[in-house]
Each structure stands twice: as C-alpha cells, then as structure tokens.
C-alpha cells in the first residue's frame, strides 16, 4: 500500500479472525469486512451477524461461486437488518455473473451492493453488463480492479463516479507477487483509472471518496 500511495484498504479473507487481528493492529489503515462462506450454511449467516454486532464491522465479502448460494437471500436479509455493505465477486461465469448479482440487488433495494471487478475484466460483455445492472439498480456500486479504462469511463458516464470505486484485489502470493517491486501491481490498477483523464473530483471519488462515503470515513 505504501509504495503505491494507498492510505486505506478494505480487507477480507476466509479467515475472519486473521482479518480482525490485522484491523486491530492497523485501525487507521484497514477496514475489515466479514467473509461470507455459505459452505457452512446457516452458520455462515450467523458469522456475519456476529462480526456486525460484536465488532461493528460494516461490510460483507461474498467470494467466488457464492453469489448463487442457497444462503445468499438470508445473508442479504441480515445485511439489510444491520446496514451492511455487501461486496460480491463477479466474473463472466453463470455463478458470478453481473446478471446474477443484479437480480440479488434488485430483490434487496435497501442493501448497497458492490459488483467487484465489474464482471471480471476478461470479458467485455460482462463489464458492460455490470454498468447496465447498476444503471437499473441504484443500490449497485461498481469496483474497478481488472476492468479496462473504456468500461470504467462508460460506467462513470452512466451512473456517476460516486458509485464507482477503486480496488486492487491483491493478496499474499497474489497478482502483486508477479511484479518486480511492491506497489507496482496496485499502481497498474490505479492507472486503469488515471489514464481515463477524468475531472479531478470524479477521479478522487473513484480512488477513495465513494467508499469513504459508504463506510462513513472522513476522506
């Protein structure tokens, strides 16, 4: 984060306790999200409630292949009850397609829902459909990692920069490890927003303002 000039990051992983420790250690840098793992069925929803009520966490991450899970609707009900931001992995597959997420968000219009990666970045159709879903559902927000500047620009023009947010999707041993130096991967992801040449206020919204507003943070 430091080499790339990133001040804060929303963090999540399948070990919620590990995330809790990191957030406790660096409260000014990390915003913890609880990881929703529907393989544990009702326990997965109870876990979300536990972190929301006991630790005051404000967001939930839904990972690969889980957007169609049987417990997604109970999760969304819980998110509505506690005012949680729900961020959902997306790609071009049927289990994570923006259409699927659009349908879920449409059923819970009070739950602010983020389509992570705007459809995945390897399929332009799913990127553009992410914007379509957001256009039709005001509670949908888009996150930019892997997305292309063309699709990000179109999203901003369609739904506004205040519903678009930057993300890197980096992790230990993840994409960042393929680069020569720390921060270069994040820098590349940041460039996907910077090369568009948006007005300053719009760029700032994507690079931090949008998520800060959603999480109640002074940017």
């Amino acid at each position: 984060m430091d080499p790339a000039g990133i001040d804060m990051a929303c963090v999540f992983g399948n070990d919620n306790e590990y995330v809790a420790e990191a957030a406790k250690k660096f409260p000014d840098r990390y915003i913890p999200f609880v990881y929703f793992d529907p393989r544990y069925e009702e326990v997965a929803v109870e876990t979300v409630e536990k972190y929301a009520t006991e630790l005051g966490w404000k967001g939930v991450k839904v990972g690969h292949q889980h957007a169609v899970a049987r417990f997604m609707y109970p999760l969304m009900e819980k998110a509505e009850e506690h005012g949680l931001l729900v961020v959902i992995h997306s790609d071009h597959s049927i289990r994570n397609h923006p259409y699927i997420i659009g349908d879920i968000a449409n059923s819970f219009p009070k739950v602010k829902t983020v389509i992570l990666h705007m459809g995945g970045g390897t399929c332009f159709d799913s990127e553009l459909l992410s914007t379509k879903m957001a256009e039709k559902n005001p509670n949908i927000y888009l996150e930019t990692c892997y997305s292309n500047p063309y699709a990000i620009k179109q999203a901003v023009e369609t739904i506004g920069a205040d519903r678009v947010m930057f993300g890197s999707d980096d992790s230990n041993g993840g994409y960042g490890s393929r680069f020569e130096k720390p921060g270069q991967y994040q820098d590349l992801m940041l460039d996907a927003v910077r090369v568009i040449g948006l007005p300053k206020d719009q760029e700032e919204a994507i690079l931090g303002g949008t998520i800060a507003n959603l999480m109640g943070i002074d940017a």
Binding site: H92, T122, F179, D191
Partner: protein, 246 residues
Amino acid sequence: MIIDIHAHLGHHPLQDFKQEPEDILAVMEKYEISRSFILPFPSMKIKTVNDSVAAFVKKHPGKLTGFAVIDPAADDALEEVERIAGLGLKGVMLDPEFHGVFRRQAKVEALMVPCMDNGLPVLFNTLNIEVGEGSRMGREPYYNGLNSLAFKFPEVRFVVSPFWPRIRDLMRQYQNIFIDSGGRNGISGAVRLAVEVGPTRVCFGSESPQNHPALGVKAIRTMKLSPVYRELLLGKNAKRIFGDLF
C-alpha cells in the same frame, strides 16, 4: 521501441466500442508507440471496414500496418484476400466468435492459400476462449483448428491470444505460432509463455480501445521478467517477426 500489434479502428457492431483514427494516433504519440497494427472490428460490412483501414494506414505508412477482416463463409472470401492485398493491407484478421470460424474449417484452410501466396499473417481476434463462441463450442475446436492450420500451412504466421487452449503444446510443436498479449489482462499470460515456452514469439498487442495500451506497456515493464525479454515483448519481436510488413 514499442510496437502494438493489435489496435482496432472503427466500431464494434455488437458491443459499444469505437476508436477513431485520431484516437489511435494520439495514444501512439503520448505513449511513444512507434508502430501499430490496425485491425478493423469484426463486421458483416467486410469491404467497407477493410477500405477504412486501408485508407487510414495509407496516410501513415511509417507508423501503421493494416490488417483486413475476412469472413470465411462469404462467397467472395478468397477474392477479398486478393483485393485487400492489392489495397496494401498486410495481414488477415479472423474472428472465431463473430464469424464462427472454426465451424468452417475447410473454408478457413482454403483461405490460407492466398494468405500464404501474399505473405499475409493471420491473426485470430479472441481475448478469452472461455467466453463467447468458445463457451458454446468448447475449447477443442480452437485447439484442433489451429493445430491443423499450423501443420498444413507452415509458411503462414498465426497470431493468437495467450488464452488459446493448450497454447504451450501448440507453440512447442509449431514455430509459426505467435502470441499477441491482448492488453493488460493478457499480459500475465503472455509473460508466463515468454518464460515457459520462450521469449521470442510473444508480442505486445493492446487490444485497444477495449484495453488501453499504456497499461499493457506498463505491465510488461514492471512484471517479473528479464529486462532483455521486456524489450523483445515490447517491440523487438514484432519487428523481427513482422518487419517485412512495415
């Protein structure tokens, strides 16, 4: 030296993508791209889009190399290859999804003869085989199709995405298969191929306007890769492999 072997001109009939001549030239100047290969988007208006590319590259021969799109199913496909060669276009683009190329293998193979005669490389316009046509047909027709073409037409240069099915096997088997990185998201695949199969047949292609050339260039410059390999990918390979087209 940076050479971009994959930049589209015009608009996509099905998707909301477009790129005008001045857009391409401006990006080339800003990011110091010395040459770009200009491809039409796939289209059913074959002659119109090929003429547009020919007119554009004719104005900037020192910077641009033009490709034509061919629909293998069209009655005049063979004649169109000869026509575009006469217009000064230097390569052929086939779009497996848009034109259902690998459902017409015999016609595609017939097309290779005028491509070989005119020294035209054949670039397959695909980014991710797992979506689109590849998802409907499965990946085998893509593997089998290229396997057959590369074997039967060793003098034709074939250019494909790093996501092509079993591309490592195909590249090891045929020296006439080359890689077009396909923008930032294809770079990691291209870099892996450069390391695992060899650095001499992998070239930078931006796939603009969907992808932005600046991101692909930056990815090649910052990913873990020998500095001498970086230069090969960014432009030296393209100059060596396709220099006869310039």
